[in-house]
Amino acid sequence: MLKLRIMFSKSGTAAYLSHLDVMRTFARSFMRAGIPLRHTEGFNPHPYLSIAHPLPVGFTGGREILDCEVLAGDAGSVKDRLNASLPAGLEVLSASAPVKPVSDIAYAEYRIAYLYDSKMPDRAAERLNAFFSSPVIKVKKKGKKGPVEINLPDYYKSVEFSKVSDRELSAAAVMTVANAPLNPIYLTRAIFEDDLRPDFSRCHRTGFFDSDMVPFV
C-alpha cells in the first residue's frame, strides 16, 4: 500500500464540478487507469480519497491537493496514467509520498479578477486597497445557526488589488485557512461602495502555504 499526495489543477469546465463530483471523478479515473485504491470495509465500500479544503463550485485551482492510498503500483507512473483517464479540466501535476500533513496548511492564495461592464471607477484599485487594509470590516456570514457577524480581516493576511485594463482589476488575496477558512466571495460582498462592486468576478486559487509562507506540497 502506498500513500500518495496528488497535486492537480482544476480549470475550464471542471470548475463547475462540486467537491463530491471531483471525488467521484477521481475514484473512477483511478479505476479506469487500473490503479486499485484502498477501500473502506463494510456494507458500502468506498475508496479512501480526501481533498484538502475543497474549492467552491465555479472556482478554478492551480495546485489542489488530493490524498489517497493505492494498493499497487508505483508513484512514478500514476501521474501519466491518471491524466489519460481524467476528463477535461482536471490534470495531475505530480504524485508523490506526502511530506507534511494537510493540517500544516495555514494560507491559501487566490487571484480574483473583477470585471466592470462600463468603465471602472477612478482609482478603483487604490480605493479597494485602502478599504481592505482597514482593521475592522464587519460582514454577515451564513452560519449553521443562521447569520453570524464576523470581522473580515481576521480571515486574510493580505489583499492587494492592481489594475489590469480599463475594465479589469486583479486581486491577490492570501486567506487564512487554519481554523475556519472563508470563501473569498465574502471579500466582494463586503464592498459597500456600489461603484466599486464588479459586474462579474472570477476566482482562482493558486495554491497553499504553511505558516512560514512556504508553498505547501
Binding site: T13, A14, Y16, T25, R32, V57, G58, S85, P87, R202
Partner: protein, 609 residues
C-alpha cells in the same frame, strides 16, 4: 467557454449539467465533419444521461465517419431564463455551438409529458416550432422512441419520425440526407426520399379526414409514402453495436452505472403494458457477449456497478450463467451487480443471495392489481401464493423492506378490486409480522398509480377513468389501507394529460402549442404541472380532452395510430381484449406462441421467446 455563458453559470443550480467536457464525450475537429447532429433529450441532464437508448445512438453516430453527434438536454427553468435574457441559443454540449446550424436535430420520445419541452427546446434553438415554417433542408427535426408509435400529437412539429430500433435506420436517413444535400435537393424532396426508407414516417405526407363527431374518417398517404409504416428491428442482438465507451458524467445522474441490455421484447404479454407489445419480438444476447461487454464497459468507464436491464430480467434463460460470469470479475473489483425487474413468480433467492453478498436491500414487486380476477384480466400472471411464498422467504431471510406497485382504473375494475389492494397489503403486513427475521421488522410501501390506456395494447380502445373517479378510488383505498403500511399515490391530473396525448390525433397539437405558449413545460414534474393552464389551452384550441382520454372507442373505429405498426396485429389485440373482459389469461410466449404477428419482422420468422 464564452464569457456570456460563464456569467450565467455562476447563477444557476447545478451548472455542471450545462458545460460538457465529461470523460468519454466525443470532440472532433470540425474540418473532418460534414454532418452535425444535436441529440436532444426533452428532460434534464440527470434523466437523459441515464437513458441507454441515447448512449447507444450517440456512440453509434459518432463512430460514423464525418458525423458529429452532440448531446442536448432541456435546461432547467432557471437556466432557460438566464439563457433567454443573455440571448444564448440552445447549444450542443460537446462544441458549445448553437444547434440551429446543425444538419439534424433528433428528439427521443420517452414520455408524453415531455412534449412541451420539445416545443420549448426547438424555440430555444431559435427555430420556428412548426415543420411547415422551417423551409430549408437543414436542420431536419427527427424523433423516435416509444411515443413515436403514436406520433400524431407531434405531427405538425417534427419533420420525420423513426419507428422502432434506430441503430440501422438512423444511418440510412443520414446517408439519404447527405445525398440530398450534395444534390441541393429541397426539404420536400429529401422527405420524399426519406419516406421510402423502411421505418420512416413523414407525417406531412398523410392526409387525415374527420367525421363531424370528431372520429377519424380516413388517413391517406401521399407523395408515395407507404399506407402503413412498419417499425424497424435489429435481427441479431449479438452483433448490434453496444456502447462500451460511454460518456461518464462527472456530476450525479439518476442511473449512474453500466447498463446491460439482456434482450429486447418481453414474453409476458401484460395487457396494459405498451413496452411489452411495441418491443416485440423477443431477441436475446448470449451470456458470453454480455459478460464481455459488461466487463469492458466497467474498465472503460470506471463504474463500480452493473445493472441488468430488460423488461423482465428474470425471464432471461441463462440468467444464472450470466450472473456467475459477471460476478467472477465483479467481486475482486469491488463492483456491484444489480437486478431490477424481477417477477414474484420466478424469483430465485439463490440468485439474489449470490448477487447481494453483503447488503440485503429491499424487494420490489409489481402485482399491479389487488385481486386475482383483475390480475387475470390484465394478464399479469402472478398468483398471490407466489407473492406470499417469495415474501415469506424474503422476510425470514432478513429483508427489511417490501415495495408493492399497483394501478387503479384498469378496465373491468370494481370497488372490490380496489379494496383488494388494501387487503393484499394487509396480508403481506401480517405475514411480515409473523415471519420477519430482521429486528426492525419489515417496512411495506404500497404505491398506486393511475392507469393510462396506451396505443398498440389490448386496452387501446378503453376509456380512462375520469379524474373524479380516480380520486374516489384513491379515497376508497385510503380508507381501507391498513395502519403500518406506507401508501403513496400519483396525482390523477398528470395521468389524465398523459392519456390525452398517448391516444391523441394530430388535432391535439394545437392544444399542445397553446399550452406551451401559456408557459407549460416540465409537465412531468409536479412543481411545474398546471392542469388549469392545460384546460385553458384545450378550451382555446377547441379540443375536448375527454374525447381522447375517457371515451371508449369502437373496435372498428380508425385509430390515430393505425397507420403506424409495431408488428403486432390488431386482430391479436382484439382477441386479447376479449379475453381480458372474460378474465382469461394468456400463457407467456415461451409456453405457447400467441400469434401476435411480430415474428414476421424477423428473418426466418422464428421468435426467440
Amino acid at each position: 467557454m464564452n464569457e456570456k455563458l460563464e456569467r450565467i453559470l455562476s447563477r444557476v443550480e447545478k451548472p455542471a449539467r450545462y458545460t460538457g467536457g465529461e470523460y468519454g464525450s466525443y470532440v472532433f475537429d470540425k474540418s473532418e465533419i460534414d454532418t452535425r447532429i444535436a441529440f436532444c433529450f426533452p428532460d434534464v441532464y440527470e434523466i437523459g444521461m441515464s437513458n441507454l437508448g441515447m448512449k447507444i445512438l450517440y456512440g453509434l453516430s459518432n463512430e460514423m465517419p464525418g458525423v458529429w453527434c452532440e448531446r442536448v438536454f432541456a435546461p432547467w427553468p432557471d437556466m432557460e431564463n438566464e439563457m433567454r435574457k443573455a440571448g444564448i441559443a440552445l447549444y450542443g454540449l460537446e462544441s458549445g455551438d448553437p444547434i440551429a446550424g446543425f444538419d439534424f436535430i433528433w428528439f427521443t420520445l420517452q414520455y408524453e409529458l415531455s412534449y412541451t419541452n420539445i416545443l420549448n427546446m426547438i424555440d430555444l434553438a431559435g427555430l420556428p416550432i412548426r415543420s411547415e415554417e422551417r423551409k430549408g433542408l437543414a436542420p431536419v427535426i427527427m424523433a423516435g422512441g416509444s411515443c413515436a408509435f403514436n406520433a400524431e400529437p407531434l405531427a405538425p412539429f417534427i419533420d420525420l419520425f423513426v419507428l422502432g430500433e434506430g441503430e440501422e435506420v438512423n444511418a440510412e436517413v443520414i446517408e439519404c440526407y447527405r445525398k440530398s444535400k450534395r444534390e441541393c435537393a429541397s426539404k420536400q424532396e429529401f422527405l420524399r426520399r426519406a419516406a421510402t426508407i423502411k421505418g420512416v414516417y413523414v407525417p406531412s405526407f398523410y392526409e387525415v379526414e374527420y367525421y363531424d363527431d370528431g372520429r377519424i374518417k380516413s388517413v391517406a398517404a401521399t407523395n408515395g409514402a407507404p399506407a402503413v409504416v412498419e417499425k424497424r428491428i435489429i435481427q441479431d442482438m449479438d452483433k448490434v453495436y453496444y456502447p462500451v465507451k460511454t460518456v461518464v458524467p462527472s456530476t450525479e445522474i439518476v442511473h449512474d452505472r453500466v447498463m446491460l441490455e439482456l434482450f429486447r421484447g418481453c414474453i409476458r404479454g401484460c395487457r396494459f403494458c405498451q413496452a411489452g407489445y411495441i418491443y416485440r419480438p423477443v431477441r436475446c444476447k448470449t451470456p458470453e457477449v454480455l459478460i464481455n461487454q459488461g466487463i469492458e464497459a466497467c474498465k472503460y468507464s470506471g463504474y463500480e456497478e452493473i445493472s441488468l436491464s430488460s423488461l423482465s430480467t428474470s425471464d432471461y434463460r441463462q440468467i444464472n450463467e450470466l450472473c456467475e460470469g459477471l460476478l467472477e470479475w465483479c467481486e475482486p473489483h469491488n463492483t456491484n451487480l444489480s437486478l431490477p425487474s424481477l417477477r414474484a413468480d420466478n424469483f430465485s433467492f439463490e440468485l439474489m443471495d449470490k448477487v447481494q453478498k453483503v447488503r440485503k436491500s429491499g424487494l420490489t414487486f409489481a402485482p399491479e392489481a389487488g385481486t386475482q380476477r383483475l390480475r387475470d384480466a390484465i394478464n399479469k400472471n402472478v398468483r398471490e401464493e407466489d407473492l406470499e411464498n417469495t415474501c415469506r422467504i424474503a422476510f425470514e431471510g432478513g429483508y427489511g423492506t417490501l415495495k408493492l406497485y399497483f394501478m387503479i382504473g384498469l378496465p373491468t375494475e370494481t370497488d372490490e378490486d380496489v379494496i383488494g389492494i388494501a387487503k393484499l397489503a394487509y396480508r403481506m403486513h401480517q405475514l411480515a409480522k409473523k415471519t420477519a427475521a430482521s429486528k426492525r421488522g419489515v417496512k411495506i410501501t404500497v404505491s398506486v398509480s393511475c392507469f393510462v390506456p396506451k396505443p398498440h395494447t389490448p386496452f387501446q380502445w378503453d376509456g380512462q377513468n375520469t379524474i373524479e373517479e380516480l380520486v374516489r378510488k384513491q379515497k376508497l383505498l385510503l380508507e381501507h389501507m391498513p395502519r403500518g403500511v406506507t401508501f403513496n399515490w400519483h396525482a390523477p391530473d398528470t395521468s389524465f394529460l398523459e392519456a390525452v396525448f398517448a391516444r391523441g390525433d394530430r388535432r391535439v397539437a394545437d392544444a399542445l402549442e397553446k399550452a406551451w405558449r401559456l408557459g407549460c413545460k416540465f409537465d412531468g414534474w409536479g412543481e411545474f404541472f398546471s392542469l388549469g393552464k392545460w384546460m385553458e389551452a384545450f378550451k382555446t384550441a377547441g379540443i375536448d380532452p375527454a374525447f381522447y382520454a375517457n371515451r371508449e372507442r369502437a373496435e372498428d373505429e380508425i385509430l390515430p395510430w393505425d397507420h403506424l405498426s409495431p408488428g403486432v396485429s390488431k386482430r391479436h389485440l382484439r382477441r386479447e381484449r376479449e379475453k381480458a373482459y372474460k378474465s382469461e389469461i394468456t400463457p407467456d410466449c415461451r409456453a405457447k406462441c400467441t400469434g401476435c404477428g411480430a415474428n414476421r419482422l424477423l428473418d426466418g420468422g422464428k421468435c426467440d421467446a
